[in-house]
Amino acid sequence: MDTPLDRLLLTAFLLLAPWGAAVADEDGCKGPSGDCVAVGSWNFSVSLGAGIRTNPIVHESDIPLVVVPQFSYYGKRFFIDNLDGGVTLLDGDSMTLSLIASPGYDRVFFYRSDLQNVFVGNFGFAQQSRATVVDASTPEAVKFTQRPRYVTYLAGPEWTFKYSGVTGQLDVLHEITGHNHGDEIRAALGIPLSHAGGTWGANAGFTWKSAAIVNYYYGSPGLYDAGAALNPFVKVAFSRPLSGRWKLTAFVECERLANAIFDSPIVNQRYVTTTFVGTTYVF
């Protein structure tokens, strides 16, 4: 685990931690608002509706979205945001800097029981991936070795900002659970679009995965060795307050898989599309 990125993350942490601790209190949050939350409180919500996430893995079924529970907790610096956790070093009106840990995303396509699928509304039982054969009807078919993909966690700095209503996020992460030692960069912008009939917004960004991560999920030694992948995505979302603590929630997201992933023998779709329409109750 002694890579240049490891050393970069450690150096960044050592440099930023004291500075962040000194300025963490200089934030502009004086009360509850859309951007601010009370320190020391848990927040729960659940979305009920109908939706689906397409699954690009051969023989794997799409992932239904029915019940989507969400929770978060914010301490003075520590926070939990669903399956992510972190420590905020700098908390300001215009930007934040945190060290976070977040689960590896791609496992959701191989295990229906992955917690990230629970948090998109599926409470099904564990289901081992069936994507093990390229094509059994082909005489010269080559067997794609079945192997487990364990739960992984990635960690690293997260920088976010807000400027003129636009929010931005940049995560530079390294796999810390020792399964693939890969790196990942997550970047996105959230752009408010309109308030016609509710709140319309668009998100756009990308996920860059190192070859180590791509091969852990989509590769097979001697059969398919992938390179790094850059997956861009775009999302359009709508929300509208209903009575009481209810609100209407709907979105469509489309992610384009890079060639390094799409070219894998176990992938048969270029795009992953996620749609959802439902109501959200905030406790």
Partner: protein, 143 residues
Amino acid sequence: MCYRRPTDMMHRWTVPLACLAWLAVGSATASAAGEAPIQLQLSPRICTLAARDKQCQTEVHARWSAPHEESLCLVIVDRPDVKRCWEHYEQGTYNIELTFVDDLTFQLRDPELRNVLASEVLRVIREALRYRHKRRDPWNIFE
């Protein structure tokens, strides 16, 4: 031969008599000041709001007592809907269900509501809250 004129005698006793009179008046005044004042007690005396609480809602028990019969009224400042009066009582109690967000000042006043005879405050204490920014997470599909 030495004698004193009456005027001298008067002068002689003037100071001690004045002192006695002053002491008598002072004693009477002290006695009046020593009377227990009208007492007003509230239960509860404090309402503590947790982070998610918007208001206090509780039954308040007010009890007053006086050293002798009084005619008075119990009122709450800025709550004209609350008024309870007694005539020639030495004590009284009053229970009321109240919903409030700020301190409540209970007062015992004379029947004309001109003079305040006793006062107590039911305080609202809010849990000290600090706020911070939510995580900005546009990469998250449900953000």
